[in-house]
Amino acid sequence: MALALAGITVVDISQGVPGSLCSMMLGDLGAKVTKIEPPGGDWLRTIGPFTNGESDLFIRLNRNKKGVCVNLKENASQDIVQRLVTGADVFIEGYTAGVTERLGLTYDNLSKHNRGLIYCSISGYGSQGPLAEIPATELDLQTFVGKFRHLGTPNEPPLRVGFDIISSNAAWAACQGILAALYSRELTGEGQRVETSLLDAAVAIMQWTIASETTPDEWRSRPISGYTEAPDHGFQCKDANFLMDWGNQNESWQILCTTLDAAHIGTDPRFDGWFKRLNNRAELAEELQPFLAKWSFEDLQQLVQGMGGTIVRMNTADTLFDSPQVEALGMLKELDHPVAGAYTTIDVPWLCSEEMAALSPVPAPSLGEHTGEVLKNFAYNDDQIAQLVRAGVVGGGR
């Protein structure tokens, strides 16, 4: 048995979060990934915090890849990338529209000698339209699609969603596109170009919001644009912010209220039923507040879970990752990096009955760590490599 993408090779020339996460996931699915970085390295290498000089972010997102340093702006680099891609199944790039044309690395160029190639583009805004050539970041896309309207207070400075939620989903979207194209290739023998973008991912994950905001004929709930409401900090007990819920089990809800010495809230028609409790949560939180203040989260958890309800703390990194649930699910894995040492990261998100994906312990490469090795595999001899290094076309080794 083997992992899903055993035998598949990937060449990734992108930088930043979406491409790195995407090719990392392809690697965890068993693909052999070669990451091509510019002479200064992927900019993620410059983002802290650092452990022994290594970016904690970079080493987690670039596990299990061979690292080759190539200056794509040098004409001589085209031949190198062409050779690498001729033997590859998947090529990933993350530039704005027009850049791969300038670099000579278009789908047409690269597929000429490799009809089975799957060429994946992950851009900011998509390849067409007035913003196609505009670079974009996580924050720009959050701003563009209006994520800030769901947080904060009107007339105060806008807030960001703390997760890189759009970048992460662009990575998942790219993985899907590549896997679908690989599947298609099994049927037809042909590769193809597949493109996605931060904007595609942003629109996909706000699907419900778009449908809800642009088409309803009737409203029976809190408004979609939560921006006009007060910020929602959940319920508060003695030592935590949290959320709790019973579905439609009104009896449990009433018992809880009685236990909290707030029987009148249990019978309040504003909170009668799941949707009402959800929709009137701000009022509910206010009413319950005095009765929750003396309870510890742990006691409340026991009470609510014991009655078949759901209760979760508004976790921070420490309360989440120290929780018995994360331990029970085995979500964290400890790996080793030759410079940064032992480090913790998050395991693949699928638990499978057959071999499909596994967290590879192979560490992220240093800049150009495998330049020589990879170039030799593609029929460059030592002299040629030395020449390319001198000419500044490639960089190699520590």
Binding site: P49, D164, R193, T310, A328, M356
Partner: protein, 395 residues
């Protein structure tokens, strides 16, 4: 050419979002997706929240591309029909609170595998199939809390915040479920072997947070919420201008240099206090006021023109019309055909199209979300079974 999954059949036993969206994506890729609903119907059909003609928009928006059958899995004869359907399927999925529910209904993985040894079955719970949180019901906001999503949203020194009136993490989990299913389909194509996959929304959320949680893993410092900013990239935040606000992200030194030029502050490029991101992070309190003073001198729309001309990533904070209308009508989403208004039994509804564009394969929305049991007769006929008409609970 049709979608790559044109020969694949998917049974969606899911409800709400995490399950159904994953199979909708497979439907966009050409799969024949059959939504199997209990007589009570998917919970999000209920007229709560935004609705169209009494139907929850959540249902309409999450279930296009699917045909619908209605089967009472607690009834032996109808469960038998469900098993016959499983025998014809390639992929099944549910997002019940735990894997125990399908087991209890008598249609768990082992039963499915008996009628279809190659079946790929994905069980997507909220908190996983082990541990003290197993079996708790969840929804988007529970997941925002549990996964620490809220902990990074808010003002510096303020309290953590939920995203109000939107859902991201159901979608994030569905996206990862779809990746898993596509990988499993590829494995099966290669080896002929099906499999069971278990996922949790909690795990999917944590993984989407890896780029921020990396800091905690290495330093044990709980990552901070800092308004529109972040602790490890400077500048990467909103700036107030003479009129409105603009987001500006100098993610690397190349962009930083272009930003300095665009702001007419080329001397900052070589200023040792700001010469690398690490220095800029260290001297954030000196740098940000400097930049704030400049941004105050022009309106956001003027800065946007200037910054874009210099290749600096930026975006204006727009509040001039409802956000979704802005996105839907923007020439950028239109040029890439990212949003489409589809005809549904409940009227036209704007939905996102496929989030990929292929050069050979096509993706399409072949049909709107089904009415409850809309394709009952057609599907049963395909199976060659008849159902006691008295038991047809379909609308």
């Amino acid at each position: 050419m049709a979608g790559p999954l044109k020969d694949i059949r998917v049974l969606d036993f899911g409800m709400a979002a995490v399950g159904p969206l994953a199979t909708t994506y497979l439907g966009l890729l050409g799969a024949d997706v059959i939504k199997v609903e209990q007589p009570s119907g998917d919970i999000v059909r209920r007229p709560s929240g935004p609705t169209m003609q009494g139907m929850g928009i959540t249902f309409i928006a999450n279930n296009y591309t699917k045909r619908g059958v209605c089967l009472d899995l607690k009834n032996d004869a109808e469960r038998e029909i469900a098993c016959k359907l499983v025998a014809t399927a390639d992929v099944t999925l549910d997002n019940f609170r735990s894997g125990d529910i399908m087991e209890r209904l008598g249609i768990g993985y082992e039963v499915q595998r008996k009628v279809n040894p190659q079946i790929i079955y994905l069980q997507a719970s909220a908190f996983g199939n082990r541990g003290p949180w197993k079996g708790m019901l969840s929804h988007e906001w529970m997941t925002q809390a549990a996964g620490g999503y809220t902990s990074l949203n808010g003002k510096q020194d303020g309290e953590p915040e939920f995203l109000r009136g939107t859902a991201n993490l159901d979608w994030n989990a569905a996206m990862l479920n779809c990746v898993g299913l596509l990988a499993a389909l590829y494995v099966r194509r290669k080896t002929g072997r099906g499999m069971k996959i278990e996922t949790s929304q909690l795990h999917a959320t944590a993984l989407a947070g890896l780029t921020r949680y990396a800091e905690y893993f290495s330093t044990e410092n709980v990552p901070e919420r800092i308004g529109s900013s972040r602790p490890n990239i400077v500048p990467d935040q909103a700036f107030p201008t003479a009129l409105g606000e603009i987001s500006v992200s100098a993610i690397h030194n190349g962009v930083w240099a272009r930003l300095c030029e665009a702001l007419g502050l080329p001397e900052l490029i070589t200023d040792t206090r700001f010469v690398t991101n690490t220095e800029r992070v260290k001297n954030r309190d000196i740098l940000i006021p400097l930049l704030e003073a400049i941004f105050k001198k022009k309106a956001a729309w003027q800065w946007e023109e200037i910054l874009k001309a210099h290749g600096v990533p930026c975006a204006q904070y727009r509040r001039d019309k409802p956000r979704s209308h802005y996105v839907k009508e923007h020439p950028q989403t239109q040029a890439n055909q990212m949003i489409e208004s589809i005809e549904t039994p409940w009227g036209p509804c704007s939905v996102s199209t496929a989030h990929w564009r292929f050069s050979r394969d096509t993706t399409s929305i072949v049909r709107p979300a089904p009415k409850l049991g809309e394709h009952q007769e057609e599907i049963l006929q395909e199976l060659g079974v008849t159902q006691d008409p008295a038991r047809v609970s379909a609308a």
